[in-house]
């Protein structure tokens, strides 16, 4: 192998390593505290939209990957997710939004690349903390319109797929 080929290979490895490392941090953290993992890609994200809402398609169309980790109650109680966020801040992730206190929890941190970005965060759903990793671009400007148009039941709630009332439509209970 020529020197130039070796250099190119080393350069590519150097480029790929931070990308791999980005998801590795959340994977390592959730290893001991996760109860379930949901991995969604553009096609699976579109399947969640039961009413085939055009705005929803615009929001998720450029998302390459979304991984949601349901965390156990210890993660919520000891706030260990803050350590994970600190690790992301150390590699350049910046705070986009934070909401906390009482039963509210929504933390969003991101690292922008040229046209897309990587976002990580933690939020609370039905008193259960969830962490997420998102790679791609989000149609932020479509979100307000999406909120206006969405009716309850328009979105399939993946967190209810494995609940006790399995087999029933979670929106018609």
């Amino acid at each position: 192998m020529t020197k130039s080929k070796i250099l190119i290979l080393l350069f590519l490895m150097g480029l790929l390593q931070p990308l791999w490392a980005q998801q590795e941090i959340i994977s390592q953290y959730t290893d001991s505290v996760k109860t379930r993992t949901y991995c969604l890609y553009p096609s699976t994200l579109r399947m969640l939209d039961l009413s085939e809402n055009h705005e929803f398609y615009d929001v998720v169309n450029n998302i390459e990957k979304l991984v949601i980790y349901s965390l156990d109650s210890t993660a919520g109680a000891d706030k260990s997710y803050l350590q994970m966020i600190k690790a992301y801040q150390e590699i350049g992730f910046e705070e986009y939004m934070a909401m906390y206190g009482g039963s509210n929890l929504f933390l969003l941190y991101g690292l922008e690349e040229s046209t897309t970005g990587t976002f990580i965060g933690v939020y609370q759903q039905d008193n259960q903390p969830q962490a997420f990793y998102l790679k791609g671009a989000i149609g932020w400007n479509k979100i307000p319109e999406l909120f206006e148009k969405f009716q309850e039941g328009d979105l399939l709630n993946i967190f209810q797929l494995n609940n006790k009332k399995r087999g029933q439509n979670p929106h018609h209970q």
Partner: protein, 174 residues
């Protein structure tokens, strides 16, 4: 001598920078570990995401323009505290003491509101809103270049709990 003047100017500039947002920052710190209060912080990075968007409709364009000049938002709120009115009085006193110019007040037996601003060369750089009454208290600070005409639009479209009172400013001024 020149160095001395430079440092004095720098000190004044720094004081100005630190003064901005001082009330909200002090409440943020005070209630950081108090679960009765929800703390919200939206950074300039979040607002900058909107500036890179291409508007498809006139409504989107209006929203993006309104948001593009904002640099940040901070809010401390509670909806189940016993002494909301007392906290409202203290917060409004703190806002007035910090040198904000009062823009509008709504005195209501159930819920009072105060809107104050900090201006620099005719540009509104910070808008502070205090709401208190019953069990509810909100202290909000919006930074950046603020166009009051667009505040109600931002309040309506951002769909953040607590921001709905911002929309009243435009409505009540009519």
């Amino acid at each position: 001598m020149k160095k001395g003047i430079f440092f004095i100017v720098l000190a004044f500039l720094s004081a100005g920078v630190f003064a901005q947002g001082e009330v909200i920052t002090s409440y943020f710190n005070k209630y950081a570990d108090n679960d009765a209060f929800t703390k919200v912080s939206v950074s300039s990075k979040m607002f900058s995401m909107f500036t890179e968007m291409e508007a498809g409709t006139e409504a989107e364009q209006e929203f993006l323009e309104a948001v593009s000049k904002l640099k940040g938002l901070k809010m401390v709120m509670a909806d189940s505290i016993a002494d909301a009115k007392a906290l409202y009085k203290k917060a409004t006193a703190d806002v007035n003491k910090a040198g904000y110019a009062e823009l509008m007040t709504v005195a209501d037996p159930d819920q009072s509101m105060l809107f104050s601003i900090k201006e620099n060369n005719g540009i509104i750089e910070e808008l502070v809103m205090v709401v208190g009454g019953g069990n509810k208290f909100v202290l909000l600070s919006l930074y950046g270049e603020i166009d009051l005409k667009n505040i109600s639009r931002i309040a309506r479209d951002m769909k953040v709990q607590g921001l709905e009172d911002l929309g009243r400013m435009h409505h009540d001024k009519k």
